[in-house]
Structures are given as structure tokens and as C-alpha cells.
Point group: C2
Chain length 310, copies 2
């Protein structure tokens, strides 16, 4: 290894294969290129427009015609597609993977990855699922950017019996992109993300739909006066519908468990409002401030009010 800066260091991966070059896949391509994390970046996407656009943007060294073709000869294959596509992609690429290949992904739910990919991969191919806790509400290759993963968490959920080398490779890859890597049990990951991401998205989708269905308040009134708080929910509820359908279907138990807790608490809140229990309301609205403070202190957010939207 020649001495000096990051660019001169050996790349984590010789040949990186990206299946899916949308928001996350294209950001991975950009970040891996910018930080010298892969020697060759090959890409495939079932959406021909997205694949052509990623090529046009210069994000890929090689453009492949199928998932099987892109995976062939790769050192690290990363699935950057909705969770519902994993089983079919796994079946398609499995026969073409050479021993020593590491298969990973970026999916928002993790127990399902072991279930859908773990069984079909051949011996000698390691599975190291990953979830970068980073994203936006936008989709497609134009929405991606190289800095998406910087100072964000990336959670790895390797199987219990995983060999150390493939895990270290994926860990090194994400660290090179600027992420802080953590390991977690996949079931626990799914519970944590259900409350920190999946349920917030679902209730945002739900209230936007509720507002959309009202007869007593018109849609144009909802739009006009959305600055009162509703607006923020519409941003979250603008995220990719296929991605969120697949998260619901593939993290069903954890999502339903957290939704049950949420509705239980909401019932108590409704009751406190109905009975005019001011002290109880005040107590509830006061203690939620502490968690905000801790998120700001943990550097996960800035204290600037409303991000200039005010």
C-alpha cells in the first residue's frame, strides 16, 4: 500500500456490483467513486431510464443487462432495490456468484433479508445485510448524492455464524463512505427501525390520507393552511410508495407491535382531551421535549427552528 491520503489507500472492494441505481444505489456509486472505495463500479437497474441516466451521469464503469450479469465476477454485490424484489434477484444471481463473493443490501428491514436471500445463496458466498440510516423522500438516480452517508449510521446485521472477513469488508466499505458502522441482531434492528422510522412514516401517510378524505374541510383549505404543521407530514408521506409497501409487508410484526403501542397511547390521549385533563396533557407535552433536546445534543439534528421554513 502506498502511503498518504485516502485516495491512495487500497480500495475496500475491487469490483462492486450495484443492483438498483435509484436514490440509494446512485448515492452509493457516487460515494464509492468519490472516496475510492471500489476499483470498478458496475450497475444494473430493472428501470431502463434509471440505468441509462446513471450511465449518463458517469456513475458507472460498467452497465449490465441483468442482475445476473452484473453480479458475475463481483467481489461485493449490493442490492439497492425494494425489499419485495430480493427473493427473485437472489434466485437469479445465485448460480452466477463465484465463491468468495460478499452479498449485501441497503434495505430498511433486516430479518427478511436472511429469510429471502440466506437460503438461496451458494456455499462460499457470504451474506452481510446492511442498512444505511440515511435517505430523503425522493427517488431515482438524479436524487442521489455522494455525501448522503457521511456521519450517518450504517447498521450491519450479519448472521450469527458469519465469517469475520466478509463482515469486516462491508464494515470497511461503509466506513470509507463516511458512515459509522454498528452491528445489530436483525430482529432487534427491525423493532428499533419500526419505531424510529417505519411507524412515523405510516402515521404521516395516514394523516395525509385522512385530510384528503374529509368532507367538512376542503382539500384547498388543507393545502392553504398546511403551514400549521401538516406540511411536514406531507414531506414524509411523499416517500416512494413501493419501498414503503415492501417495508410494511416485510417488517409486519414489528410494525404492528409498535402501531399497537401508538394507538393505545393515542386512545389515552383522546380520553384525556375528552375529560379535559389539563394536568395530564401538560405532563405529556412537557416530557416529549427532553427527547428532542437529546437528539440535538447527539448531533442528529440542529436546533434551528423549522429549518428556515418559518
Amino acid at each position: 500500500m502506498s502511503g498518504g491520503g485516502t485516495a491512495a489507500a487500497a480500495p475496500a472492494v475491487r469490483r462492486l456490483a450495484l443492483i438498483g441505481v435509484g436514490l440509494i444505489g446512485s448515492s452509493l456509486a457516487r460515494a464509492a467513486r468519490a472516496r475510492g472505495a471500489a476499483e470498478v463500479i458496475a450497475g444494473y437497474d430493472a428501470n431502463p431510464q434509471h440505468l441509462a441516466r446513471a450511465a449518463e451521469l458517469g456513475l458507472l464503469d460498467e452497465v449490465a443487462g441483468s442482475a445476473a450479469a452484473v453480479a458475475e465476477g463481483a467481489d461485493l454485490v449490493i442490492l439497492c432495490t425494494p425489499l419485495g424484489s430480493y427473493a427473485a434477484i437472489g434466485a437469479e444471481i445465485a448460480p452466477r456468484l463465484r465463491p468468495g463473493t460478499v452479498v449485501s443490501d441497503v434495505g430498511s428491514s433486516k430479518a427478511c433479508v436472511l429469510r429471502d436471500l440466506g437460503a438461496v445463496l451458494p456455499d462460499g458466498v457470504a451474506l452481510v445485510p446492511a442498512h444505511p440510516v440515511a435517505g430523503t423522500e425522493q427517488s431515482g438516480p438524479d436524487a442521489g448524492f455522494a455525501e448522503l452517508f457521511v456521519n450517518r449510521w450504517c447498521i450491519l446485521t450479519p448472521p450469527e455464524d458469519a465469517a469475520p472477513e466478509p463482515v469486516a469488508l462491508v464494515e470497511r466499505f461503509w466506513a470509507l463512505l463516511g458512515s459509522t458502522v454498528e452491528r445489530m441482531d436483525p430482529q432487534h434492528h427491525d423493532l428499533v427501525l419500526a419505531i424510529t422510522s417505519h411507524v412515523p412514516h405510516l402515521i404521516a401517510y395516514n394523516i395525509v390520507a385522512t385530510a384528503d378524505d374529509l368532507e367538512s374541510v376542503t382539500k384547498s383549505e388543507v393545502i392553504k393552511y398546511s403551514a400549521g404543521g401538516f406540511r411536514d407530514f406531507t414531506r414524509i408521506a411523499a416517500s416512494d410508495p413501493v419501498m414503503w409497501r415492501d417495508v410494511c409487508l416485510n417488517n409486519r410484526e414489528a410494525v404492528l407491535e409498535m402501531l399497537a403501542r401508538f394507538t393505545e397511547d393515542l386512545t389515552a390521549l383522546q380520553r384525556a382531551i375528552r375529560w379535559g385533563e389539563g394536568d395530564r396533557l401538560l405532563e405529556l407535552f412537557t416530557r416529549t421535549r427532553a427527547i428532542r433536546r437529546q437528539i440535538i445534543d447527539a448531533g442528529q439534528e440542529t436546533a434551528a427552528p423549522d429549518f428556515g421554513r418559518r
Copy 2:
């Protein structure tokens, strides 16, 4: 009236009395000063620190020792305090108001204003409730700023039998501050704001509390991985607890009606997840995008993803 710029135009109000100089009251003082909307700005706040700070910031021409004192001799009195304080403030100031005075407010709920203030004000004093649909999650005089109301809606809910002059005065005042003024029936206002503001705040408070109470996921995990969506809810749930308690207690019917609709829809969503109804989920997650588009098109929001927080 001398010709020329705004500053040379006659102010809308000779003597403006602000009761409460927190986020909204101090922003009003700043905006009225900056735009020449009042000749003299007098202020009172029950919180001595806030009152002293507003004076120190040079926001007030006169600092009063009580609500009654500040209201005496005023042309326009604006209550900028939590809704729960209105009845007592009304009773205190009523005997000191001279005929011709206009009383207004900035409260987030409107039917209760007529109920709490309408009855106690003497003959010859007009009540013109107002609600600027503008704010942040912060409180106190340091959080205010002059531009808060620019290009925001301000909703007036005058009683049906209101004389035209006081309504025109309040309208002119808010227009000078840069707001677009609308009139609405107070009951209808309360329904519209219940769905566009109150219920979004309540479900944000609720999910933050749910996360705070979990045993299966630790608080530090919630904080660490909050970038997945939860973080945005904590901002909304950091708003002033007293203000939101008072909104719940004073807009009870509309809030409960909208919460009932929300929970009904959420039950259907839970059921669709439980039964794995992918098409139904996809349909729901797709149609909510349209409303976001319309909010952006209406200029109530920018399309920039996640406001740079990504």
C-alpha cells in the same frame, strides 16, 4: 397622507397594546415597528423575565405593570397569551377599555375566543379574533422575528354582527405586516386547523411519548437512529406545552372529531398490513403524494428534500 413608501403611510394603529410578548407577541412588536403599523407599542407579560427581555431588546415603547394598565387607552389590544388565560385577562381589562377600542388575539383556536371574551367586553368595544397561521416550535421573546408573518395567512373570525370598521382595522394591520388576510366562521376555522395543525401536533407528541415508554427499544437507540423519520416528529413535539394543552382544552370537539377520523383510518391501515394487502398499501402511499405536490405548487413549501438535513 404624505406620498411615497410604506414608512410614510399613516400607521394602522395609534396605540397598540400587546398582552404577552413571547414568540408571537414579540414578533408582532418587531413587525409592527419595522413596517410602521403602530405609532406606540406598549407591552405587558405575566412573565417578568420575558417582559424585561422584550424591553431590553427595544421592542416596546412602553412597559406596563399589568394587563389592565397596558390596555388602558389602547386603540388595538392583542392577546398573545395561551388560550386558557383569556377569560381572566378579559375580566381584568374590560373595565379599563375605552369605547372604540378593538380587542383581538392570535390564538390557535377561535370559537373559544367569542365564548371567553365576547361576553365580558363592554359595549362600544369590538372583538375581532385573529389567527396568524405562522409560528415555530420555540417560545419566548428571543425566538420572535419581524418576518414571521410575511406571506402567511392570517384568519379573522369576527362575530356575525361585527361592525365593518374594527374588522377593517385588524385586516389592515395584518396586511401591513405582510400577511394575507382571510375571514372564516370560527367553528369552521377550528375544524380546518384541527386537521392542518392540531392533530398533526398531537400525533407527533403521541409517537414521541410512545417511543419514550418502550422497553424493547432503549431511549439511546431511539435517539441514535432518529434520522429515519422520528426526528421530524420530535421537532413538532417540542412546541410549548401550555399552548398545546390550551388548544386541546379549547378546541376539544373539532380535535376529537379529527382524531376519530385519523384512528379509524389507522385501524384500516393496520388491518391492511396484518393481511398483507400490498395493493391497498400501494394505493394509499401513492395518493398521498398528490397533496404534497399541491402544497409545493401553492408556495406553502419548497421541494428541496428534507431541507438540507439529509
